[in-house]
Symmetry: C2
Subunit: 108 residues, 2 copies
């Protein structure tokens, strides 16, 4: 399985509507992805984190998917709609990371 991470770089004073992102945008994208996406996760950056570390990303999500091709095929027809929806919660341009999920969840 693969993990598609969409990450919004932190910028001081930048707008980010976490509630809209979590309650409206993410479920909408999940619906468009359909069976290509098994589930997603959503994170909110903590400004003063472990050992005082700065927040690199104000928010981010992971889409756990069957393959890169399935993700692209499912989302392709909806890219315009999804990009238009981003403006509802932020002006920050996200960055993308595609990964192979090596350990989905460790045991014990």
């Amino acid at each position: 399985m693969i993990k598609v991470s969409v990450m919004y770089p932190y910028a001081a004073g930048a707008r980010f509507d976490h509630a809209y992102y979590r309650e409206k945008h993410m479920p909408m994208v999940k619906q468009r992805l359909g069976a290509a996406c098994l589930y997603y996760t959503v994170d909110k950056g903590i400004a003063n984190g472990v050992w005082g570390s700065a927040s690199l990303y104000v928010a981010k999500c992971d889409f756990i998917c069957t393959s890169v091709e399935a993700y692209e095929a499912a989302l392709g027809p909806h890219v315009q709609e999804i990009r238009a929806d981003i403006a509802h919660y932020t002006d920050i341009k996200p960055v993308l990371q595609t990964s192979e999920m090596v350990v989905e969840r460790s045991e014990v």
Copy 2:
């Protein structure tokens, strides 16, 4: 719950021993964290990802933990050991992101 993400920025030609990271380093850190960490995940960056996107991180992990304080308290005594172990698999200096886990795993 919080998510502590440790991410290794991609650098062309840089050494990264994914097997050591997955089989030796991560279980060792998990053992040191003890009850402060519920589980972890491990990802391996895909060089040519979704829509041809570059790999920002050659590898990364998430530690899902009870709190920032619990993570710091558990790992504090072992920081030297953990940093020394990093050299076994890479020379890349990781970056840290601390997040509040807003959606651990979406349903349906």
